[in-house]
Symmetry: C2
Subunit: 92 residues, 2 copies
């Protein structure tokens, strides 16, 4: 909030847990097979989110993004999440 | 498809193009702000897909996954896609 600088970007991936049914993934796998992509043995569908932050403090950002995932962005009962932080502008 | 071995996994990210409106992202940003995450300056929402392949040939897999994205998994008019291939089982 008081931080000046380029800021950080969190790239978040949310996926259904391995043991949870993923009917959307099964539908996409069927569609791929009907298009001739028969080498596909499984498809899992998740969400991707890019969150830009007004802070350059990676330690704080990591804690905050973890909380965002737990409170809003993912449903911990049926989903897993992971994220990485990159510096805005440089892509690294 | 004659390939034997552990197989490959494509981890695909599809995002709205930078110049395309993302109302879902704006809604999530508003929800985060109302939860106190006011350091968030922007949210973009995309899709994540994990596609398991019965092949160990990375060159072929790269071409095939690119085609899958163009034909079904992404809408090139309004979306960008990127992916990486990992070896099944090892995560690398």
């Amino acid at each position: 909030m008081a931080a000046q600088g380029s800021g950080l970007i969190a790239r978040i991936v949310v996926t259904p847990r391995r043991d949870v049914l993923d009917p959307q993934g099964a539908a996409v796998q069927g569609a791929l097979a009907s298009l001739g992509f028969e080498e596909v043995s499984r498809v899992r569908i998740g969400r991707f989110m890019e969150v830009e932050l007004h802070t350059d403090d990676r330690v704080v950002a990591e804690q905050r993004v973890h909380k965002m995932c737990e409170q809003l962005l993912a449903n911990p009962v049926v989903e897993d999440f992971s994220f990485e932080l990159t510096t805005r502008g440089t892509g690294a």
